[in-house]
Symmetry: C2
Subunit: 373 residues, 2 copies
């Protein structure tokens, strides 16, 4: 965990204004530099999220590409803690993961941690988190992952296969380590203490099922890195490769905060929101605009603090040129917030219309993707 007075980042809590540079330093990860981006460009297009530095940090990505070049392809592993309905912030790393699957043509294990969300949330029952997992997996399927290469599972349904790995991990991790890495104390429940073992299991599962060591690449939020630091520490002693990671920053909230959060439903766009609701939420978004139109025309807006601009930057304006143009025009007062909110509303509504259609169809496709016992 990193707690820095002004912000906190653990796998279960992200709050305050996050210093992403400090996270790289404290976690001991590496920044994605131009050399790595240039190297990745050889395999296929660079995703805007990486080009723009939203996917900004990594562990051992060079090694993954070395192995890939040597004819040893990797598998992808990512997941979701099903504590509520899917929002745009959740889709972001999944879209990036799908891009990786498309470019490298590799399998993906997608873990739905219904156990975790039950253990870490006083108010949630196992029925709640299981039900939510099934809601969330519709969104995963709707993004168009290759059913032949994508396997999704709920921890409580797939535990038979995860538990032996979890036990081997758990035997190697002391409470001291868990305390230091996650910030646990004597009041932490014993399920939460054990849980990281379950999140580690899929990092080894691909190797075990293949009967040989297979490199594993985990695209995830930087907040999840502590789990995989533990995974990486013990992997060699169990005879597995250390998984590699690609870390993304958190998706911003409409209220201007650093992370979209279900605890603020009005500044959160859910994948099931109707277009009207989406536009309404965007209309109340925090912007970098001035108090009056006249003033904004005169002094310009501040796109660097504007949630609407951030949304375009993160997901809804794929063309860098148009984004730069918008930035400049906003600074010069040539574009007003109402106009900008309108185009974002159009883009999000358009995206969600297609997504919701695919999400409906996904209801009949669950069996193509899901792994059960």
């Amino acid at each position: 965990m990193v707690e820095d007075g002004s912000f906190t980042v653990t796998p279960w809590e992200v709050s305050g204004e996050i210093d992403y540079d400090l996270l790289v330093e404290k976690f001991g990860t590496k920044r994605i530099d131009q050399a790595l981006i240039d190297r990745m460009a050889k395999y296929g297009p660079i995703h805007p999220l990486m080009r723009r530095g939203v996917v900004y940090s990594h562990r051992d990505m060079d090694w993954i590409l070395d192995r890939y070049d040597a004819g040893e392809p990797f598998y992808l592993y990512t997941g979701r803690g099903p504590s509520g309905q899917t929002h745009l912030g959740h889709l972001m790393p999944w879209l990036f993961t799908k891009h990786l699957q498309d470019v490298f043509n590799v399998p993906l294990y997608f873990q739905l941690t219904d156990d975790e969300k039950f253990l870490f949330n006083e108010g949630l029952t196992l029925d709640d988190t299981r039900g939510m997992a099934y809601q969330n997996l519709l969104d995963v399927i709707a993004l168009g992952f290759d059913p032949g290469k994508t396997k999704i599972f709920l921890d409580t349904e797939y535990i038979h296969n995860l538990y032996p790995f979890a036990l081997q991990v758990a035997k190697k991790v002391t409470f001291s380590t868990a305390k230091a890495v996650f910030g646990f104390d004597n009041s932490t429940n014993i399920g939460s203490i054990f849980y990281t073992s379950i999140q580690t299991a899929p990092a080894f599962l691909g190797s075990a099922l293949a009967g040989k060591n297979v490199p594993c690449l985990i695209p995830c939020g930087i907040d999840q890195d502590p789990h995989f630091r533990v995974t990486r520490d013990i992997a060699p002693s169990l005879g597995y490769y250390k998984p590699a990671l690609l870390h993304n920053k958190m998706f911003p909230g409409l209220g201007g905060g650093d992370k979209m959060s279900s605890s603020q439903p009005n500044s959160t766009i859910y994948t099931t929101d109707a277009p009207k609701v989406v536009r309404k939420k965007i209309n109340t978004a925090f912007t970098g605009g001035a108090v009056t139109v006249d003033e904004q025309r005169k002094s310009g807006g501040k796109p660097e603090i504007c949630a609407v601009f951030k949304y375009k930057f993160y997901l809804f304006e794929p063309e860098d040129r148009k984004l730069d143009e918008l930035y400049d025009r906003c600074r010069k007062g040539e574009v007003l917030c109402g106009e900008c909110k309108k185009t974002l509303g159009d883009a999000v509504a358009c995206f969600l219309e297609k997504h919701q259609e695919a999400r409906e169809k996904a209801k009949d496709r669950v069996d193509e993707f899901i792994l059960r016992d």
Copy 2:
């Protein structure tokens, strides 16, 4: 845990000269008194182990009988940590459990904790403990449990059904509690910390499968009580009955110690030992005899410290009258150790001959008993 300078009792370590009265006091259990024995005599014969005070302590046994009388029968739950081959000490509580099943005609869940023994023993792999579990379950089956009423499972094979209960338990137990009850510290691995949740699961499983609350009675060694103290503390908050318990003392070692232990193979009789091996082990047993035959004829022996006498007392002399007679004759020097070892050797060899025959047949009967996913 109880640590008293002279002895230690935890679910994973029993050493020193155990003060069983102190355990009752420290654990807060109740001694089995004559009133309870008289009450139990109404349902069927009292097992010698209970009559002789080997099964000596309980929790809520009166409540179990009250419920039974009111037409609400209980189920039995006991188990084995498969860290090695079965020895006579393991059979003792199972024989008592079988007696309870016969008298009350109730179902039994038998848990083989291959996960536990892996987590708590540095030198054991999961393959080791699973393999041993299959060895141990042959001994369970060989004792003649009713296959229609007896279900045996390995934790790692049945985890799919245990995990949801374990999660519900784990969420209610803090590290503080686990530390206080089991003596854990910062160096304990996170699997061991979580494990008690898995041992609790079968205490609720019978109710969940029945779709209503069913009383649960757990016959077990007093060393296992800490687990079920935790179970009992949280049962009401999960809507389950607290399980009741019947505690037995530890089965003595041939070396005169308080507990037969696989770490001393020469003073341990395994269920697979050949008659010759058994007799040899018994011949080197610690006795209460004098240094010379003449002295023993003159001053008598000390049956109260004699391992050979203890074996007859615990398992191999069902008739109280004969046991009392032997005690008296030994004290008077009328019986010598050689003779006594001979009759014990005969009894154990005779018991094991039948047991080994049944154990061979059990190899074809595993599927009648085992629960898998």
